[in-house]
Symmetry: C2
Subunit: 160 residues, 2 copies
């Protein structure tokens, strides 16, 4: 189990990713905070869906999702049509204006990434994407599974 140190290092690296994300967030226009951008991105990639599924894909609580959605709807970037099959739900769908907004965001992100990561090859970027996708998947599976993180949150106090 030489992986012990790798785990500790991964924890540090994940912490450091925050800085990169903050840098990237700075390219967003003021009326489109990261939470809004995330909503648009998911709706574009996965197509129309209900609140509950969006919250699941974003891996955030539905109450939070609800506010993000209200914001982007207020900007006219998505529609919330009643679900004919279940009147408690509404179907979220990207509007043409939302799609245009998203394309513009992607343009900004790409520009910033291309500037900072000019030394990366296409294969290297692909590899990082693959590993991050797997990381996300494995944590997602883990999130739903038996040993809840909560169980680890407060172990018995140390003898000290």
């Amino acid at each position: 189990m030489a992986a012990q140190e790798q785990y500790a290092e991964l924890a540090r690296q994940l912490s450091a990713v925050s800085a990169v994300k903050r840098d990237l967030a700075r390219v967003l226009p003021v009326d489109c905070p990261p939470g809004s951008a995330a909503v648009l991105t998911v709706l574009d990639k996965h197509g129309e869906m209900r609140m509950s599924r969006l919250a699941e894909l974003l891996a955030i609580d539905m109450s939070v999702t609800s506010r993000h959605v209200a914001h982007v709807e207020g900007r006219g970037w998505i529609d919330r049509d009643p679900d004919p099959g279940d009147r408690r739900s509404r179907i979220l769908r990207l509007t043409p204006a939302g799609k245009r907004r998203l394309d513009e965001l992607a343009e900004r992100y790409t520009q910033a990434l291309a500037h900072c990561l000019s030394g990366w090859s296409d294969d290297e970027l692909g590899l990082l994407n693959t590993l991050l996708a797997r990381l996300h998947t494995d944590f997602g599976v883990c999130r739903g599974s038996t040993p809840r993180f909560k169980d680890l949150a407060e172990p018995p106090p140390l003898p000290a």
Copy 2:
């Protein structure tokens, strides 16, 4: 430039990393939020230093760093000794209690990661760590360099 799509995908993946980080943060004890853990981690890895350097390593504003530092000092996890060479500064140093606390955090992180990433080989973890370190470095360089992100923040409005 087939990397265009890779950049867009990386932006999505980085966004998704937040979910993993939130999961991981849940294993922290309530008296040690992620910001405090980050301070302890950096001081352990790089040794004693001043506020300004800590803020630089964390890539967050010094005002924010100051609050995190005040918190961990309040818990007795670090010392803030006056800098004999410059009385405006203070030297931050991990205390034995802080080191113990950090070891315990690492234990929790490792346990959570080992549980979720049991399918990863040591080499795969190492590869992800290497790529993330490089990502962080390249963004760090970029952060200090000429074309400030601010310049990209508000381009001329679209014809719309």
